[in-house]
Amino acid sequence: MVNYSRWAMIVTVVVSLLGVVYAAPNFLLSPEQAEHNYSLLPTKQMNLGLDLQGGSSLLLDVDISSAIRETLESVESSVRRELRPRGGERIGYQNLRVEGETVRFNVRDDADIEEARKRVSGIESGFTLETNGASFVLSMSEAARNERRQTVMEQAREIVGRRVNELGVTEPTIQQQGEERILVQVPGLDDPEELKAILGKTAKMSFHLVDEDASLQDALNGRGPAGSYLRYGPEREGRLPYVVKREIIVSGEHLVDSQPSFQDGQPIVTFRFDTVGARLFGEATQENVGTRLAILLDNEVISAPVIRSAILGGSGIITGRFTVQEVNNLSLLLRAGALPAPMTVLEERTVGPGLGQDSIEAGKVASIIGLIAVVVFIVASYGLFGVMAAVALLFNISLIIALLSLLQATLTLPGIAGIVLTIGMAVDANVLILERIREETRNGRTPISAIDAGYRRALTTIIDSNLTTLIAAILLFQFGTGPIKGFAVTLSIGIVTSMFTALMLTRLFVVVWLRRTRPQTLAI
């Protein structure tokens, strides 16, 4: 082990110095300078977790099953359309329903089975059709379900991103977590109430006609007409009930813009349709002058104005007793688009800027004091070799910081704890070697032979003990969440760098020292 090839020396020195170079931006540059990279030197800094820099983190659950249900309902209505086409030949059916993840119905007349099969079979890809006599079952395949889930998640992430960006925050991150979750992290946001309010709304908007012929009383007693349903107005207006026709005139998808505005001193929302939307809206308003128009947002009637005249320009306004804040949020939601499925906030963690700063300070102080105490202790115990181990420890820490910066891993408070712990444990490999050299010296070996044996014998021990800890750290990273992950990252990096510094760097110091001084005895 005292044979140290020139190449190994060069590599060790280069890696150690690169560690210093890559760790440097964290100490020398302000975050703004790091942002604008004009130099050839590295400028990447460690990412600070939200617990250190302050900010808000929300874990959202996307209700995939409701999106799946929606798909099933749309298949159900396609079936209805296929069997009873407008102006086409009708096929009698009964008991058309969504059951679990299937759409089922029975054909009345056995003679129609073949024709029904032909019409239904082409409806939707990803559905398999089974028939048993006159009973038909359309079921959603696993692949189609997964595909639907993926699409929904992608859309949801996109919409969440648009909504968050509309808030004008800096550098939000929006990631999918697991199969049905989205993690939104917004640095610097210390009051997430508005964010939660915005993300908690699906913002599905649709325009319907109010069923003016239906009796409200009947509908309230559950005997409303089949083509209509009961919907309520907002809470602050006393949840007024409306009988609303199910048929959608125009849906929110056709909205291209929406802005907050004022009319007669009242906050209102303006909106504009695309050409298709404008045509549909124009036709419907033309045919139904004098009827009320129900504007539904997430199944709530937010406004129900009477249609005074045909609206052909494709734009309109929504009035109601809104506050300025509500108008801002509503127009934001309409601009950003509707979520493909409702979401709930499962978890929130918000750290104010003061606490984050305090944590960084405390972490720095603890690291520096811990470092000094450890250095004093090993130098006192091992003399010159202790100094070598201490210098190696400093390189070790700069390597950890360099790797964290390069990998752009996120440094969290438990991560700092991991570094401090590594400071303590990094010494272990050196201690193992030095104790072994001490022992071999006592056994009467010459310095070179004692050092050689010390390194050689300690090697398997170091590898075994560090690999076991590394295995544990990797599993922590894989299966852990939140703070456990952050801790596992720094711990794993620390294990790797401390093995490097003990086996390569301190050995380099020792070998160079041996060659220079050729000592006759070892003072260890």
């Binding site: 659950d61 997430p192 109430e193 709930t344 906030v345 499962l346 978890e347 929130e348 963690r349 918000t350 750290v351 104010g352 003061g354 606490l355 944590s359 405390a362 972490g363 603890a366 004091i369 811990g370 470092l371 105490a373 450890v374 202790f377 090993i378 006192a380 115990s381 003399g383 010159l384 408070l413 438990p414 704890a417 401090v420 303590g424 444990m425 010494v427 201690v431 193992l432 104790e435 056994n443 050689r456 398997t460 021990t461 075994d464 003990s465 076991t468 544990a472 750290a473 599993l475 922590l476 894989q478 299966f479 852990g480 969440t481 939140g482 703070p483 456990i484 801790f487 596992a488 003072a523």
Partner: protein
């Protein structure tokens, strides 16, 4: 140059013999830990129990009584209010609200509006809903079990089954007594605590493996030495390393506990305990247990011949001759 030599050279402690005291003590600790865990339970943080945690800085020194009556009157169930470090720093914990996640969010709004301008700064607001809490428990248990299982397999593969079993017994001892510590002290048990326990596991294993490695080496060197003498020899020869590493790690952890800030204090305390108990268990449990598990040269012989023939072979006679008392 002055040198600190805390552990004297050539110690000759009878670690194997001391199992007469160490084993009853450890069994007592483990039983007591399990008893405390079942009787008193753990003070689970919101990570696992779900609920709301808000840390505030008040305008001027906090009036805890006032806060307690303000928030206690909101009808949110169990509310804990405690000072946290500074006199104007207050931690408010509210139990998980009945119903879905929306209820939790509404409760946060209610509290915030009730606090009004008493608050100078919201330092932390956290809520964990019922779904996530259950999942976090599950993933934490998985992480711990898998980590321990993987360690067992690795040591089994590198050594012999007795070593694997011995290491896992020592490790389980450390984990159980650490959980016991949390049951007794009622320190908050949260995700960071789980990370601490896992690190303790890693540390304890690290410590044990170093001594086991030495046991294996001495087994190769002294072909005829009595097993319990050999185990003692290995433990004694590694003693100063065991001690030095524990001390350096403890130094770093104590710095963390004192200066690392209030959030990380519980974590550091758990780790300090873990290092102490982990060191104890490597020497007093993991080593003697090899004797109890009937480790013999025969069970190792296949591996020994093979490896003994390589690099170590040249040294064996030389080292073997300098036998020590």
């Amino acid at each position: 140059m002055f040198k600190l030599n805390i552990v004297p050279e050539n110690t000759n402690f009878n670690f194997v013999g001391s199992r007469r005291f160490a084993y009853p003590l450890s069994i007592l600790l483990v039983v007591a830990s399990i008893a405390m865990f079942t009787l008193q339970g753990l003070n689970f943080g919101i990570d696992f129990r779900g609920g709301i945690l808000i840390e505030i800085k008040t305008q001027g020194p906090a009036d805890v009584e006032q806060l307690r009556s303000d928030i206690g009157g909101l009808n949110l169930g169990e509310v804990q209010i405690q000072e946290f470090g500074e006199p104007d720093d207050v931690l408010i914990r509210v139990q998980q609200q009945d119903g879905e996640e929306d209820e939790q969010i509404r409760a946060i709004e209610t509290i915030k509006s009730a606090l009004g301008d008493q608050v100078a700064e919201y330092r932390r607001t956290e809520f964990v809903g019922p779904t996530v809490g259950a999942e976090l428990i599950e993933s934490a248990i998985w992480a711990v079990t898998l980590a321990i299982g993987a360690i067992l397999i690795y040591i089994w593969f590198r050594f012999e089954w007795q070593f694997g079993v011995g290491a896992v017994i020592a490790l389980t001892h450390d984990v159980i007594t650490t959980i016991g510590l949390f049951a007794v002290t009622q320190l908050e048990f949260n995700l960071a605590t789980v990370a601490a326990i896992l690190t303790i596991a890693g540390y304890s294993i690290n410590d044990t493996v170093v001594i086991y490695d030495r046991v294996r080496e001495e087994l190769r060197r002294y072909k005829k030495m009595d097993m319990s003498a050999l185990l003692n020899l290995a433990a004694n020869r590694t003693l100063s390393r065991t001690f030095m590493t524990s001390v350096t790690t403890l130094i770093a952890l104590i710095a963390l506990a004192i200066f690392g800030g209030s959030i990380i204090r519980d974590f550091s305390i758990a780790m300090i305990w873990g290092v102490v108990i982990g060191t104890y268990s490597s020497v007093f449990i993991a080593v003697p247990i090899l004797l109890v598990l009937k480790l013999s040269r025969e069970s190792l012989s296949a591996g020994l011949d093979e490896e003994g023939g390589e690099a170590e072979g040249a040294d064996a006679p030389e080292d073997g001759s300098e036998s020590r008392p």
